[in-house]
């Protein structure tokens, strides 16, 4: 056979020629011609003009020719819908053919033709095929239901195909079961309502587990993937399912193994972590994961990306397997980079010597990216395993001696981190670093070097000369370098004021007068003011002690990690991104790990999974943090450290409130909450209403930072609105052995620009075993960055022990402002203006006292106390309609319509806003207020 000749027809008039060949009487000629058509189609030529002629060839008993014609049809039917009808008859006839292969072929192909008129004719044959006596036809029909759902979902739901598909789950043939489960999973995933159309029951799970032992490798993957979406009812069921899945770990197909791992990892969450079963399962997981590393490189890559997740979730599984991740000389680069990542994660005191000698080898390889990563890894080892720090530093120094440009730069970046982690230990190497000053051309390396010089200015004799040399090209530097240079020179000045005055003036004028970068200018102005008004205060601020950097970097945020664990083996696990980040349209249901069955048991694992997610900054944000920490952001310094000298009012003009918070002490010292001007509405509520505490809904304090995460500090808190001012009420409990002091708080950028309005005032020192309350007034003038979910607030709390990070949720109702009452007409106009797709509906269920006759009034007053204002009230056919408005701190208006039926405990709420993504939070607020 030499079919390749079909690829070479490039003559003019080719279509015409093909047409006549297709209409040739001889069968062989016809087939030849169809082959030519398919070849042209493959290379991208448009052969749609031949549609009627090709379809004419469809009526044949030659199976090969039939398949070719079907292939053509699938490609072009959509562009020629009218002519595609010509094929319907043949399809319907083929679906009745005595040969099961032909019946299946017909139904398979019909499902691929996306022409409405053909789809209409598909229903009857499909229904028959789903009940066909031949399993081959049934398994094909099962997939066809998924195809039909993709074309016309309502048809599948209306015509009862879902039930037929569900019946196939009990089919005697394992492959039919597998295809049915695959089709059902897809339908569930893409269902428009967002909730699965077909729920899995323990009975179906049992059937699937039985089929699992008998079907093809691919069928096993489908079944395992759908089992991963099932949540066992209890511990016992989780364990028995795990037991039945474990044998799959010995399958030769990597996809089967990884899908089995996914189910096991998910169900393991439900079991007590100290149980014997989990321990033995953990042991069983390691060997198959290691074996995946001897598969083809592409599969290895997928496996490694997943192992990276597994190691973060359960470090125990592979802790003894470091050696298998050693890089081989011939590994493709993508495998090498991934292995390196995992090596760093697994590095520990026990194996660090081996790891280090490997990394040293890698640092001499050819590939630039790989070498850089290896150098960085050495630095990470030093930070992670203190005992190895010294060896790491000397290895880095050796590497610097090679003078290979990118190695040197990378080494300097990591050495900066080592200096921060172990201050006053390795400064003797600074002189070696300084020798390489000229070769640094990357911003990050330059900035790191400058930071080192500034930080240790007192030990470097010619620090002023070095910094001056950088200053020459100040305007051309990257802003990262500029900011760092500014800070470094100020540090130098504070340490050696006598001979560096000129330098500091130079840099301040460059920053404030010649730069267009507002960050740089602001930083310059602040330093300038600080230095000119109170050098002592400047010292406190600029040379303040730095928070420690964390040992682990590049860790995924815990909730994302948990979500990705549910997606093991899928693309999401390869990208390390949630599916919503790369899959279009359908948002689907976000997956999360099941909660541990014995929450609160002693197991460390289970408490950890329960704890509030601690946000550990990734590498890049760490660097950002490092570079700006001495001044950037609204750092709130501890009150105790604040200088006594008040500022002149002139300084205040220029710098506004920023400086106040910066220094902790303001000329108008923080007013007690009661003295703040309150809006009239709230005042009224105060005078007439019940005690304020019961009037506005206040969420009970929740634990934000458990003591085991906070190095002995336990923080719980809630958000409250008092007299028109937003407060964060916190309780600090010291569960450690020694007193804590020097508390300070800082927020990450958040959706509502929330930022502390005054420094944190906590009893300090806080003796062991004592809990202290603090109320932190908040402002909404801070930097804004959209968070997911919207109400997330990431907080850093510092004390003399460490810096702790945690995230909490701001209840939306705390953000409702007092002047949220909209004029009636404005309300009406706005409601009409906002497009209908911005309307979101919600049902508040089981509202108490709904039986009360004046229930509606209760709702009105209760909402009013929480700054939700009723604009109008109507009674339509016995039900009360309330129209309410509210405004958020950031000026977003939200319009609501409430439908209250007497006697019905459920209230229907329709919301309209120009930014509908606040809806979620508003609903939550309604729920809380009306239930609370």
């Amino acid at each position: 056979m030499t079919d390749s000749k079909y690829f070479t027809t490039t003559k003019k008039g080719e279509i015409f020629e093909l047409k006549s060949e297709l209409n040739n009487d001889k069968k062989e000629k016809k087939k030849e011609a169809v082959k030519k058509v398919i070849a042209s189609m493959t290379v991208g030529k448009d052969v749609s003009a031949l549609f009627p002629d090709v379809v004419n060839c469809m009526q044949t008993d030659n199976l090969e020719l039939k398949k070719l014609v079907y292939l053509y049809l699938m490609n072009y039917a959509k562009s020629q819908p009218d002519m595609a009808i010509m094929a319907v008859n043949t399809f319907v006839k083929d679906c009745e053919d005595p040969n099961p292969l032909i019946r299946a072929l017909a139904v398979r192909t019909m499902g691929c033709i996306r022409v409405d008129k053909i789809t209409e004719y598909l229903c009857e044959p499909l229904r028959k095929c789903l009940k066909d006596e031949d399993p081959y036809v049934r398994k094909t029909a099962a997939v066809c239901v998924a195809k039909l759902y993709d074309i016309n979902s309502s048809m599948v739901e209306d015509q009862g195909f879902l039930d037929q598909l569900k019946d196939l789950l009990s089919d005697s043939n394992p492959m039919v079961v597998a295809n049915a489960v695959a089709a059902l999973s897809e339908i569930n995933e893409s269902s428009s309502s967002g909730s699965p159309l077909v729920e899995m029951t323990p009975q179906t799970v049992n059937k699937l587990l039985t089929a699992l032992n008998e079907c093809t490798e691919w069928g096993q993957v489908f079944i395992l993937d759908s089992l991963a979406n099932y949540s066992p009812r209890d511990e016992r069921e989780a364990q028995s399912t795990c037991e039945r899945i474990t044998p799959r770990l010995a399958h030769a197909n990597a996809a089967v193994v990884l899908s089995a791992v996914k189910v096991l990892m998910k169900f393991m969450e439900m079991l007590p972590s100290d149980s014997e079963f989990v321990t033995s399962l953990t042991k069983k997981l390691a060997p198959p994961l290691v074996t995946l590393l001897s598969s083809e490189p592409e599969v290895q890559y997928v496996a490694l990306r997943n192992i990276n997740l597994i190691v973060q979730k359960r470090p125990d599984i592979l802790k003894h397997e470091m050696k298998v991740f050693f890089v081989k000389y011939n590994d493709p680069i993508y495998v090498k980079l991934e292995k390196l990542d995992i090596m760093i994660r697994l590095a520990s005191q026990a194996n660090v010597a081996q790891v280090l000698s490997e990394l040293k080898e890698y640092a001499t390889e050819v590939d630039v990216d790989f070498v850089r990563k290896a150098v960085r890894a050495i630095g990470r080892c030093a930070i992670k395993v203190e005992q190895s720090a010294e060896r790491c530093v000397s290895t880095l120094l050796d590497l610097i001696q090679t003078k290979v440009n990118y190695v040197v730069q990378e080494a300097i970046v990591v050495i900066k981190d080592i200096f921060r982690k172990y201050p006053n230990k390795y400064e003797s190497i600074i002189s070696t670093l300084c020798e390489n000053l000229d070769t640094l051309d990357e911003p990050e390396a330059r900035a790191s070097m400058i930071w080192i010089i500034g930080e240790y200015a007192e030990r470097i004799d010619n620090a002023d000369e070095l910094l001056e040399s950088f200053l020459e090209g100040f305007a051309d530097e990257n802003s990262q370098v500029q900011l760092q240079l500014l800070t470094a020179i100020v540090k130098l000045f504070l340490k050696r004021p006598s001979d560096t005055q000129e330098l500091v003036q130079q840099v301040l004028s460059l920053a404030t007068q010649d730069s267009d970068n507002p960050d740089l200018r602001d930083r310059g102005f602040i330093y300038w003011r600080l230095l000119s008004t109170d050098p002592a205060a400047a010292k406190e601020v600029v040379l303040a002690e730095k928070p420690l950097i964390s040992e682990e970097t590049d860790l995924l945020e815990p909730t994302l990690l948990d979500e990705l664990i549910c997606h093991i083996s899928s693309l999401a696990s390869v990208y390390h991104k949630p599916p919503s980040a790369f899959v279009e349209g359908r948002s689907g249901i976000r997956k999360s790990l099941p909660a541990s069955a014995r929450a609160g048991s002693e197991g460390v694992e289970s408490t950890e999974s329960q704890a509030a997610p601690a946000v550990i900054p990734a590498q890049d944000s760490l660097i950002g943090d490092l570079l700006s920490m001495d001044i950037g952001g609204p750092t709130v310094a501890p009150v105790a450290a604040a200088p006594a000298a008040p500022f002149g009012s002139a300084a205040m003009d220029l710098l506004g409130g920023g400086l106040d918070t910066l220094l902790g002490e303001t000329s108008s010292s923080p007013a007690p909450p009661s003295a703040l001007p309150a809006s009239s509405a709230a005042l009224l509520g105060d005078i007439f209403g019940a005690p304020a505490a019961s009037a506005t809904y206040v969420a009970p304090k929740t634990t934000w930072l458990p003591a085991e995460k906070g190095k002995g500090l336990d923080i719980s808190g809630s958000f409250v609105r008092r007299n028109g001012q937003l407060f964060m009420d916190l309780t600090f409990s010291n569960k450690a052995m020694q007193p804590m002091l020097g508390f300070a708080i800082q927020f990450n950028k958040n959706s509502f620009g929330i930022t502390p309005a005054s420094p944190l005032q906590v009893q300090s020192p806080l003796p062991p075993g004592v809990a202290a309350d603090a109320s932190l007034p908040l402002a909404t003038t801070g930097p804004v960055q959209k968070m997911e979910p919207l109400t997330t607030l990431q907080v850093a709390v510092k004390n003399n022990v460490d810096v702790m990070y945690f995230a909490c949720q701001i209840p939306m109702h705390a953000l409702f402002v007092e002047d949220g009452q909209m004029d009636k007409r404005v309300f009406l106009a706005t409601w009409k203006e906002i497009p209908a797709q911005n309307e979101v509906q919600y049902t508040i269920t089981n509202v108490m006292h709904s039986a009360d006759s004046n229930f509606t009034d209760t709702v009105v007053s209760r909402m009013q106390q929480n700054n939700v204002f009723t604009i109008a009230k109507r009674n339509v056919e016995g039900q009360d309609m309330l129209y309410q408005s509210l405004k958020l701190t950031n000026g977003i208006w939200v319009l609501n319509e409430l439908k209250i039926q007497p006697g019905n405990p459920n209230i229907t709420l329709s919301l309209k806003s120009r930014t509908p993504n606040v809806a979620e939070g508003v609903f939550q607020a309604y729920d809380n207020i009306l239930h609370g």
Partner: protein, 434 residues
């Protein structure tokens, strides 16, 4: 699921293009060509995301194969499936090449239609596929034949058809092991493992049930406990500690999990019964001892000692040691005591070949390498010395204890089956740093 599957030649011309899902358009074919095949910088990952479309690719020889999707598919499955497609094509028409693909494009389309439905992989077993997808056009099938095909494609034993008959019932077992080693210049084993597989060729009639026994530590210990009194000598027999093993889909995994016994109904002909991996007590067949001395800037002296470390009566074969040389090598003088050695400029290496070498022998090679003077500051980093060989034993100590065949319906017993077992140890990545 998989939205489309494309095959390109090295120039990026499309050889096969099959779209399975509506969300994948023809432009995806071009997107992959432009962004991956013709990318200015070589793509550094087998998965690429271009405009919210994900491309999985595999390159074999000069042929690119890409699977495309817009969904969150099972990535491991996509790659396993693509590898399987390559397997299937190879078993149909041999080597994967542009020529072969063009010559068989009709067949390939037929296969792709059968093994992937709406992006869901279906039965990909070549044995079964060959019964109804043939290169000889259609065969007229009787109704019984058709039913047999469909029950086999979807069946529980999808890998074997009924009614196979042989006059002579015979089976061959090949234990094939690949030894992987990374050794430091000082002779310290940095990592070593054996990747082994058992390949079976079966020519058996009917639907035979087979039981396979090996000297696996867990099984042997369990056995040892039961009959310590009867056979105390057994404990002295060597056992192999298997870290992990994987089986062909014909092996009943649940039975292995509970009883640790390997039982199966084999496919007809050749197949890979199991794969395993061991790391303990590996007998390394060869040891390479390198000695590199840099004499000034223009000369290097290399001495390599090769020791064979197995029974004297056995013979190692196809031995090849590859010693890398710097890029600026201008000439090499070689002396070797055994075999032939040659400097290959194209590979930047000295290749030393020895046809045969008995156990417990030692030989060596010395080389003087002349270097051109270069001004590059960068030091040459020495790649490791690698070697290839083949030895007639299993370096892991793996032993086949028995393979019993039961066929209740036909009248032949285990004793009538002629069985052959062979052990081969080969080099995997066998490297010594220098």
């Amino acid at each position: 699921m998989i939205g489309g599957l494309f095959v390109y030649n090295h120039k990026g011309e499309v050889l096969i293009s099959r779209v399975y899902r509506d969300d994948i358009g023809r432009n995806a074919v071009d997107a992959f060509r432009v962004n991956v095949i013709h990318a200015r910088q070589q793509v550094r990952s087998p998965v690429t995301n271009i405009a919210r479309t994900s491309f999985f690719h595999i390159k074999r020889a000069n042929i690119w194969m890409a699977a495309v999707t817009k969904q969150n598919v099972n990535a491991a499955m996509v790659f396993e499936f693509m590898l399987k497609v390559i397997d299937v094509m190879q078993s149909y028409f041999g080597k994967i090449s542009e020529e072969n693909i063009k010559n068989n494009f009709v067949l390939i389309y037929e296969l792709l239609d059968e093994i992937l439905d709406f992006g869901y992989p279906q039965n990909t077993d070549t044995g079964v596929l060959k019964t109804f997808i043939t290169q000889q056009g259609i065969k007229s099938q009787t109704k019984e034949e058709q039913a047999q095909i469909t029950s086999q494609v979807t069946g529980q034993i999808g890998w074997r058809r009924e009614g196979i008959k042989y006059r002579r019932n015979e089976l061959f077992l090949d234990v094939l092991e690949y030894v992987n080693l990374l050794m430091s210049p000082q002779g310290q084993v940095l990592s070593a493992h054996v990747a082994g597989k058992v390949v079976m060729k079966s020519y058996l009639s009917g639907m035979p049930e087979c039981k396979f026994g090996i000297n696996d530590k867990i099984v042997m210990e369990a056995k040892g406990k039961g009959m310590t009194t009867e056979d105390p000598a057994r404990s002295g027999k060597p056992v192999v500690v298997i870290d992990d093993c994987q089986f062909h889909q014909c092996v009943k995994l649940s039975k292995f999990e509970t009883e640790h016994s390997i039982s199966f109904i084999p496919p007809d002909g050749e197949f890979e019964l199991m794969r395993y991996r061991t790391t303990k007590d590996i007998s390394l067949p060869f040891r390479v001892i390198p000695l590199v001395r840099e004499v000034g800037r223009t000369k290097m002296e290399v001495k390599v000692v090769l020791k064979s470390n197995f029974k004297q009566s056995l013979l190692g074969q196809k031995i090849e040691v590859k010693i890398p040389t710097p890029l600026n090598t201008s000439g090499v003088q070689l002396i070797c005591l055994k075999g032939k050695a040659k400097y290959k400029a194209s590979e930047n290496a000295i290749v030393w070949k020895i046809k045969r070498m008995a156990g417990l022998k030692e030989t060596q090679l010395s080389a003087e390498i002349e270097l051109l003077e270069t001004d590059t500051k960068k030091k040459w980093t020495r790649p490791p010395i690698s070697m290839n060989f083949e030895v007639p034993f299993a370096p892991s100590g793996f032993k086949v204890r028995y393979l019993k065949v039961f066929e209740s319906k036909l009248n032949y017993s285990d004793h009538d089956v002629i069985k052959w077992v062979r052990y081969i140890g080969r080099s995997g990545l066998y490297e010594t740093r220098c």
